[in-house]
Amino acid sequence: MRVAIIGAGITGAACARLLARAGYDVTVVERGAVAGGTSASCEGNLLVSDKTPGPELDLAVDASVRWPLVARELHDELGPGFPSIEFEPKGGLVVSMTPEGAEPLRAFAASQRAVGIHAREIATDDALELEPHLSREITAAVHYPQDAQVQPVVAVEALLASARRAGARVMTSTEVVGSLHDAGGRMAGVSTSRGDVHADLVVNAAGPWAGEVAGALGLSLPVLPRRGMVLVTTRMPHRVFRKVYDADYVGATQSGDADLQTSTVVESTAAGTVLIGSSRQRVGFDDRLDVDVIREIATKSLRLFPFLEDMQVLRTYGGFRPYMPDHLPVIGADPRVPGLYHVTGHEGAGIGLSVSSAEILLALMNGTTPPLDPAPFAIDRPTLTPHLQEVAS
C-alpha cells in the first residue's frame, strides 16, 4: 500500500515513521525543508496541564505515555551520533499570581484529577522550593509531573530518519499542486511541482497550511493559522527547572478570540537558554515582527520570574499554529474523497499529540481498534460541520 504524506513537520514525521514501520510504502512530500514551519517555531511542549478534560486531554495522556518509549526507541535506533531529541520529563508547575486567580486554578486542577491527571495542588512554599527563583507573589500552585519537553526540530529529524530506515522517502522542495484520482474517484496520489506522486492513500499533514493543501486537492478544510511568538534569552546557569506558567495560559489556549493574548510560559532548554512564551494572535500568515507583542510577553514574564529583568533577549521567533474553529484536531478519513486523510489542527499541542495522532491514523488505515475513540476528531463531527459548509460555500 503506497501512502503519500503531505508535510514534513512533526505530524507528518510521526505518521511517516509509524506507517513505514507498519509496512506501508511511504513518500513524504514537503514544500520546503523538513521541520521548516510550525515545528521549528515552537517550544516542544508535551503537556497535559493546559488541557480541559475531554478528547484532547485523553489524546495528551495517551501521548504522555508514548513519548518516553518513542524517545528511547529513537535513541537506540539512531545511535549516539544522532543529535539528542532532548526528551525531558521535567514536569510542569502552574501558578496563579492573584488572589482571584487561585480558586479557578484549584477548580481546574480538581477537574483534571477527576479524570486521572496527576495534578498535585501544593503549598506556595513548596512551589518556591521546586522553583526558588519564582516570584514570592504566587497565590496557588499545581504541580504536573506528566508534563515534558522535547527539542521539536531534532524530534522531527529523528522521526524521519527512523522512517527512512523503514523505507520511507522524503521529497523536499516539492509542492503539492493537485490531486490524482482513479476512475472511481478515489485518491490515486498527488501532482506536485516535481511531477506526480502515485499513492493509494494520501495524508494531509500540512499543519496551518493544511487548508491550502486541501484547496489544491479541490476541498475545503477550516484550519486557520494562529500566530505565537517566543523569546529566547542568552545562555545562563539553570534557574528554571520545570515548565512554569501563569494560570491564565489555560484561558488563552482555549480561546477563539482573534485579538492578541499573551500568557507567560517560562522554561529552560538543554542548551541553557530560557524560552519565554507566548502569544496567540490571529493575523493570518503575517510574519512581521511586532514589538508590542514581544514587549507584553516580556512584561508578564517578569511577574513570574523577577530575575529575568537583567537577562538578555537574544532572538525571537514566531510560528503559525494550526487552529480549528472548535479547538480539536482533525484525525481521520475525509468522507468526501475516498483515500484521503487529514491529520492537522493541533494548534499549540502538535508536538506532543503527534505520536498518538499517528497511532489513530494507522489504526484507521489498518481497520483495527485505535488506542482511543477517534469520533471526536472526525472531520464530519457536529461541531465542525457548519464550518466546513461555511468554507465550501
Binding site: 514537503e30 520546503g32 525543508a33 523538513v34 521541520a35 521548516g36 521549528a40 539512531l78 551520533g81 544522532f82 543529535p83 527539542q151 526540530v153 531534532v154 522531527v156 529529524e157 524521519l160 530518519a161 527512512r164 522524503v170 523536499t172 522542495s173 523569546l231 534569552t233 542568552t234 545562555r235 542548551a271 519565554i276 512581521r288 515582527l289 511586532d290 514589538v291 508590542d292 514581544i294 514587549r295 516580556a298 512584561t299 514574564s301 517578569l302 529575568l308 529583568e309 537583567d310 537577562m311 538578555q312 533577549v313 537574544l314 532572538r315 525571537t316 521567533y317
Partner: protein, 478 residues
C-alpha cells in the same frame, strides 16, 4: 522638512548626513560605538588625542571636516552608543525603528521613531575563516588587530603573522608596524596570476581610481622596504600552541585554496591576524524588507534607493568597496533622500567617483574571492561556531545523519550560529560548510544567517519598558 534617520556614523553615514543637511533635511545619526568614525576612522578618544591620527588614517581630514560640520549643526543630532534593536514593518508601509541607548551592560533607554527616510550605512564585519588552532589566545581577526592598533595603540604581539586575502591585509600590517609589532610574514591566499589578471586588466577602467592602485603599491613598497615577507598563494593552515599561539604552519594553496601537500613550513610567532574579506551587516536591511543581490549585498539603484520605499543604503552593505566608494555612495544617498536627484550638480563628482570605485571594488572582490576548497584545511575538531563551540566534524556528522537541506533545522540540530553573536562571526562559514556537507546548493527553507529580527540583545527589563506603538514619536529633531 524631511526627517532622515541615518544608521551608522562611519564614512558612508557621515557623508550621507552631511549631504542631506546640504539639501535641507533634518538629520539624526546614530551609531552603536562610543565615537563617530565607524570601523574605518577608529581613533583614540578626544580626551587622549594623538598627533598621529592623520598618519594612521587615510582620509583623516575628510573625517574631521564631516564631523565638525555635523557636530555644530543644529539641524543634525548625533547619538553615539545607540543601537537599533529592532525594525518593524508596519501595516501602513512605514518603518518603526526601535532604539536602545546607553551602556550595554546597564539599564538602557528605549525609544521608537518613524522617520520619513531611512539611510542604512551599517558597514561590514571582517571575516576570518576557521583554521585548526584559531581559538588559541593570540589569534585575532585582522579587523580586531587593526582596531587595537588604531583605537588603543596596542600591538597584538611581538612577532605577528598576517594571513588571509584582500588588500585589507596591507593597512593591517602597516598599523601593526606603527604600533610596534614585528610582522614576520604576510600570506595572501590568492595567487599572483589571479590578482594580476583582475587588478591590472583594462587599466582605462581605473582612470581616476589610480590613487587606490598607488596606495596599494605604496603598501607593497612599504613591505619591501620594511622587509616584511609578503607571499601570495600561501595561507596559514594550522596554528600551534598550548596556552597560546607559539607557531603557525603555512602552506602553498592551489587556485581553489586547497593546501598543496609537501609545501608546509613552520614559523614561530606569538600572534596571528586572520582576514578573509568582509561580511556586510545586513540584519537591519533584511528586517526593513530590502531585497538583496545574488552576492548577498543590499540591492540599490543608481540613486542608492533600496527596494523599499524611503529606505536608502550606502557603504559596505551594498558592496565591499572601501572608504572612497562609501563616501560617494553616502553623499548620493543623503542628497537623494533629502529630495535631490543624481542629476544635480552638487553630487556630480560623487556620482563619477562612485562609478569609478565600484569598478575597482568589483575587481578586488574577484581577485580575492574565497577559494571553494578552503575547508580542506579544517580538522574534525576545528571549532567553527565559537559561541556554541560547534566543530567542523559535528556539522558534517549531523548534516549526514539528518540528511537535512534546511538551514533552520541544521542550525537547531547542530546549534551552530545560535550563540551570542547570532552568526555574525560564523554565519557565512556555517552556511557554506553545512551546504557542502548536505550536498545542496541552496537551502530548501530559503533562510539565511542574515535574518536577525532582534538586531541587538536587549535586557528583558528594557524590553518590558520599551514604548508602545501608540507612543511612537515622529522623528524628533531639536
Amino acid at each position: 522638512m524631511t526627517d532622515i534617520l541615518v544608521i551608522g556614523a562611519g564614512p558612508a553615514g557621515l557623508a550621507a548626513a552631511a549631504a542631506a543637511r546640504r539639501r535641507g533635511a533634518t538629520v539624526r545619526v546614530i551609531d552603536s560605538a562610543e565615537r563617530t568614525g565607524g570601523q574605518y576612522w577608529r581613533h583614540l578618544p578626544e580626551s587622549r588625542p594623538a598627533g598621529r591620527e592623520a598618519v594612521l588614517h587615510h582620509q583623516w581630514n575628510t573625517y574631521q571636516s564631516l564631523r565638525q560640520a555635523l557636530e555644530f549643526d543644529p539641524g543634525c543630532t548625533i547619538d553615539t552608543e545607540t543601537q537599533v534593536w529592532a525594525v518593524e514593518r508596519r501595516a501602513d508601509g512605514t518603518l518603526r525603528v526601535n532604539l536602545a541607548s546607553g551602556d550595554v551592560d546597564g539599564t538602557r533607554a528605549t525609544e521608537s521613531v518613524v522617520p520619513d527616510r531611512l539611510i542604512l550605512a551599517t558597514g561590514a564585519h571582517d571575516r576570518a575563516l576557521p583554521v585548526p588552532g584559531w581559538t588559541l589566545p593570540g589569534v585575532f581577526t585582522a579587523g580586531a588587530a587593526q582596531a587595537m592598533a588604531k583605537g588603543e595603540r596596542i600591538a597584538v604581539g611581538d612577532r605577528v603573522v598576517v594571513a588571509g586575502s584582500g588588500p585589507f591585509l596591507f593597512p593591517v600590517t602597516a598599523s601593526l608596524g606603527q604600533a610596534g609589532a614585528r610582522v614576520v610574514g604576510v600570506f595572501e591566499a590568492s595567487r599572483p596570476s589571479r590578482m594580476a589578471r583582475h587588478w591590472l586588466a583594462r587599466p582605462w577602467e581605473l582612470a581616476g581610481a589610480s590613487h587606490k592602485v598607488s596606495e596599494l603599491a605604496g603598501y607593497v613598497a612599504h613591505h619591501v622596504r620594511g622587509r616584511v615577507p609578503y607571499r601570495t598563494g600561501y595561507g596559514v593552515v594550522e596554528i600551534h600552541g598550548t596556552a597560546r599561539v607559539e607557531a603557525v604552519t603555512v602552506a602553498r594553496l592551489d587556485a581553489d585554496w586547497a593546501p598543496v601537500l609537501g609545501t608546509e613550513r613552520r614559523i614561530d610567532c606569538d600572534a596571528v591576524c586572520l582576514g578573509h574579506g568582509f561580511t556586510p551587516r545586513l540584519e537591519l536591511a533584511v528586517a526593513a524588507g530590502c531585497e538583496l543581490t545574488d552576492e548577498r549585498f543590499v540591492r540599490v539603484d543608481g540613486e542608492q534607493r533600496t527596494s523599499v520605499d524611503g529606505v536608502f543604503a550606502a557603504g559596505e552593505i551594498t558592496a565591499i568597496g572601501g572608504v572612497d566608494l562609501a563616501l560617494a555612495e553616502g553623499e548620493i544617498a543623503g542628497w537623494v533622500a533629502a529630495g535631490g536627484s543624481t542629476a544635480d550638480a552638487p553630487v556630480r563628482s560623487a556620482r563619477r567617483a562612485r562609478d569609478r570605485f565600484t569598478r575597482f571594488a568589483e575587481r578586488i572582490a574577484t581577485a580575492h574571492r574565497i577559494g571553494a576548497s578552503w575547508s580542506s584545511w579544517l580538522q574534525d575538531d576545528t571549532i567553527v561556531c565559537r559561541c556554541e563551540e560547534v566543530d567542523a566534524g559535528t556539522l558534517n556528522r549531523v548534516a549526514e545523519s539528518t540528511a537535512s537541506v534546511g538551514l533552520r533545522s541544521l542550525k537547531l540540530t547542530t546549534r551552530a550560529g545560535l550563540g551570542l553573536c547570532q552568526g555574525r562571526i560564523c554565519g557565512r562559514t556555517v552556511e557554506q560548510l553545512l551546504a557542502g556537507a548536505s550536498g545542496c546548493t541552496a537551502f530548501a527553507d530559503g533562510t539565511t544567517t542574515d535574518r536577525r529580527p532582534i538586531a541587538a540583545p536587549l535586557r528583558i527589563g528594557d524590553l518590558a519598558r520599551a514604548p508602545q506603538s501608540t507612543e511612537t514619536s515622529p522623528h524628533q529633531i531639536p
